[in-house]
Symmetry: C2
Subunit: 373 residues, 2 copies
């Protein structure tokens, strides 16, 4: 690949070839296991990106209703909103359903299920819902195979305005695993949490049409998806340093980078200053090993052990993480660098578009993305 074109910085770059390779790798893995993928669009938030990488996906996962509307307006009807429903969002969810979206929402409490059923009944609609199961003590969800799971599923089925569709879980804890073995173990906990809960519910005459698990790490390393109807994953499309640190990908599989310019040097302090501060990189420190990101040359090859060790709003401070001397002659004001992000979801959210690098390294396009709610 040739060097990055001379563009105004900071800018969010997306390497199309790497994106496609990541998507194909995950698709192959899902095909081997005979399980469906429901891509999570919370990372890329861009129909332009997923259309190129995925074709027209049959189904997606979203983390906001804005993403749901964006998906529906771009031809995807089967949408899972995988964050516990807040009652103030029900009108908007109903409006999207009225437009024809096959929207499924998520609840993990009886009061949320009752609010959903009441809103559906008032609107004369059946709101389809999953019960969230907690597989790792990390966030939301009821205990697997618990009386609470049964009670919520029953409230959704019995309610006039709701329809019980199944169960879902997310092992967010997989992001802090210390080894791939640990991730594999976490994936099996995730799988069993929903498969066993679904079996319990089936015995109670509450069959699950959807049995959903997933995160990029567990989707990558799970030994089995038996009994699961779909797997959710999002960051696998672009990857990031957190995923590389977990062994989910290599640094060369990271499709996103932030283009930045050298704006100054503090030679006595061993620092190069760039115009990508925390506003461009986000405040996400990932594993803690790379500061605000890893510094690369214009071809996206890491430069020694340089990281963005400090950041102000629009200033990034580049230093050697190991305290090595920097050859300051190699960093004149105006030199373009690229910074790999810790967390693709957080860094991408700081921008409203991707500048797409094609196979020849040329800037081939600008793909807009959505933000907000």
């Amino acid at each position: 690949m040739t060097a990055t074109p001379n563009i105004e910085t900071p800018a969010l770059l997306l390497n199309e070839a790497v994106l496609e390779r990541n998507v194909q790798r995950m698709a192959s893995r899902m095909a081997e296991h005979g399980v469906s993928l429901r891509p999570h669009i919370k990372t890329v938030k861009s129909a332009e990106v997923w259309r190129r990488a995925l074709g027209d996906p049959a189904r997606v996962t979203v983390s906001t209703l804005r993403e749901a509307e964006h998906a529906f307006e771009n031809g995807v009807s089967d949408i899972l909103y995988a964050v516990g429903m807040a009652p103030t969002k029900l009108d908007r969810a109903l409006a999207l359903m009225a437009r024809g979206a096959d929207l499924t929402i998520t609840v993990d409490s009886l009061d949320a299920a009752q609010a959903v059923a009441a809103a559906g009944a008032a609107a004369g609609r059946m709101i389809r819902a999953l019960v969230e199961v907690d597989s790792d003590g990390h966030r939301a969800g009821v205990k697997p195979s618990s009386p609470e799971a049964r009670a919520i599923a029953a409230a959704l089925r019995d309610g006039e305005g709701a329809s019980f569709r199944g169960v879902m879980t997310h092992a967010g804890g997989s992001y802090s695993c210390a080894s791939t073995d640990e991730i594999r173990h976490m994936a099996e906990r995730e799988r069993r949490a929903v498969v066993e809960t679904a079996a319990m519910l089936k015995e109670q005459a509450l069959p699950c049409e959807i049995i959903s698990m997933g995160s990029t790490p567990t989707a990558t390393f799970a030994a089995s998806f038996e009994g699961v109807t779909e797997v959710r994953a999002g960051v696998y499309m672009t990857m990031d340093l957190v995923m590389a640190d977990l062994g989910v990908c290599g640094v060369e599989d990271i499709a996103l980078s932030v283009a930045a310019s050298v704006i100054g040097r503090q030679e006595t302090r061993g620092q190069v200053l760039i115009d990508a501060g925390w506003m461009a990189m986000s405040r996400d420190l990932g594993s803690g090993a790379h500061g605000y990101g890893r510094v690369c040359d214009a071809d996206c090859a890491p430069i020694g052990d340089l990281i963005v060790s400090g950041a102000n709003q629009e200033h990034g401070v580049v230093t050697s993480s190991g305290g090595e001397a920097i050859d300051f002659d190699a960093f004149p004001v105006g030199r373009m660098l690229r910074v790999l992000p810790n967390h693709a979801c957080a860094t991408a959210a700081q921008f409203d578009a991707y500048r797409v690098l094609g196979r020849d390294g040329d800037m081939k396009d600008v793909w807009p993305r959505i933000n907000g709610w």
Copy 2:
């Protein structure tokens, strides 16, 4: 004030009365000291906000050219771009000058000064520039009264396409001071860094029209602004938990909050889940004392010692920072809460508009803000 109206969450709320009080307090302080304020608009990024709070400011500071364009398009001509200039941005800066903006840029190296002069000469314009002075070893700038300061000022004066206007410094280190005395000391270092450098340059026949210092903490606690022509500050308009922790303001002076809804509870773990995760709050952890923010009721009164101790993209995990028991009956699904941000600049940047609460607590308006570069 009455309770927050029932709005879709998460949303960024701005209390207009508190904003106005903060702005008046800083204006009084500057008037007492007989020094001009050059408000930094990198926090609010909204002409709607500063117009209401400041009237039509005579001059502003910006951290991006997008902010500069926004200011110019909203009637402010005297604009200081206070981040070291990257050569790729010079065409855009020249275009803004050609439209009539009195834009002043910043450099801290000879190569940047030369690039600026060359671009100005090529465009047949004089680009006005300040030399950045480093007052606290924190970020950018040359040493006060140094030969480098003199050489850069001379290069700007001698260059065909540049015009030397003066010196500026920013004591970003004031954000990590342990006491108001320490901030006062930092302010005096900041003042002396530019005043003494300007005196040195004057002896070298390089007089400074602008002698600029500032940050909200140093502007608040400085004992003297003698010799300074202007003070820069931005976050004073909205304040935040970082400023409250520094003693710059009280918690009741924070004009910004994020409205969030309860979406679940994990009673055995002592957790309430809300729909404001790091996407709404940002990843900024501020002083480290409040997680992702301090949790308040609908009237913005803090609830015990509740904080957003953990966050996923769209989930916030509320716990007691002191391990106190939570009365879960008080947190039904759908209850609206408000979360005070650690860092106003970072949290506000996650949103594209302010929902403005008027004096009666009613939602009176929506004021758009800009993001990006």
